[in-house]
Symmetry: C2
């Protein structure tokens, strides 16, 4: 049944918009959705698990993967490589499973070009003031870093125009409902259920 | 703000699929959604209210409406006219409100051509056997009428292919969730929120 496939959901957000929290909520509401795990050459940090946080591989293996077109997107950040395994995503989708891919705007753009049927979702903070407040609340960044994050956020927001959906993370339960609604409604799309119509009409005995 | 508009949701279903019950549930979950009320020349039945069940108008007034292109769609059934007032729908949508229009497949097709941005939803019974069981349960129809309804359902299902979404009414809470998700997600579409991105970027002071 070629048309009973899953969908790919690409989710991006500026730092501080609350993406991690929201995706955790979505995961508990929709436990059957798969979350893509990136491959990286950076060493694991304390507490990180191979296959859960990242797949940790050697630079040699990563470069071989690039040559073999294994990655649907990849990037080099601070000397480390990060990439998304094409086969992993495609086999889940072909098996009828929905996949969420948490990625920055550059990676999202590349994925959208390769998977035009994917659903791209951008998570927004409710306002600049609130984004700044949330970044300060973390208490981990210096003033310089906070200002850099805000400028990055402005750049990322300029990319938000081509995303299919915008979700404003004002209240977590409401934003979670919206993310769940986007996934639920996409499962109801006729082009994901032609097989159902076909079998329905085939079974009519009147 | 021209782009902060509502959406039109066109909902069709074969008789016995449970559309009336589902739309009542949706109405209680999303009280801000407007329900389109048709105009008709048929006399009100006991208990029917003008402006709630239908707008009851004279045949003369209806024919004048047709000549003046007042109806986005209209039909003559058993000698009575039924139609949807174009102005009513368009003014709600222009005012940013979502509108649900409960209509048969012929009317839905006409509306979809005139409002290509509308969202068309087809409600399916879980199976032919279940549809037949529900029609019999009503206890109001003769065997002939039930068979006619089933043949009509088969004809209507052939039109379901061009609808944007299919919702299988297996369990009412689940099907209601899906309808609510389709409306909620459509509110999150970027093309309904460009104004938000624009104002967000305009307010950046970093």
């Amino acid at each position: 049944m070629i048309d009973q496939k899953g969908s790919l959901f690409i989710v991006s957000a500026p730092s501080g918009a609350g993406k991690t929290t929201l995706l955790r909520e979505v995961r508990s509401r929709l436990p059957d959705v798969k979350f893509s795990v990136s491959f990286t050459t950076r060493p694991p940090r304390p507490g990180e698990e191979d296959g859960k946080d990242y797949f940790f591989i050697s630079e040699e293996e990563f470069l071989k993967g690039i040559r073999e077109n294994r990655f649907a997107e990849w990037a080099r950040v601070h000397g480390n490589y990060y990439g998304t395994d094409r086969h992993m995503i495609e086999s889940w989708i072909a098996g009828g499973q929905d996949v969420i891919l948490d990625i920055d705007v550059q990676g999202a753009r590349e994925l959208k070009c390769q998977y035009p049927q994917s659903v791209a979702i951008f998570i927004l903070p409710p306002s600049w003031g609130e984004l700044e407040r949330r970044l300060r609340l973390r208490g981990t960044d210096t003033e310089d870093v906070i200002e850099k994050r805000l400028r990055n956020a402005a750049r990322e927001l300029e990319e938000a125009f081509w995303y299919d959906y915008l979700v404003v993370n004002d209240e977590i339960p409401k934003a979670t409902d919206q993310l769940v609604a986007i996934i639920t409604s996409s499962r109801c799309r006729t082009n994901r259920q032609f097989w159902l119509l076909k079998s329905f009409l085939a079974n009519f005995t009147g």
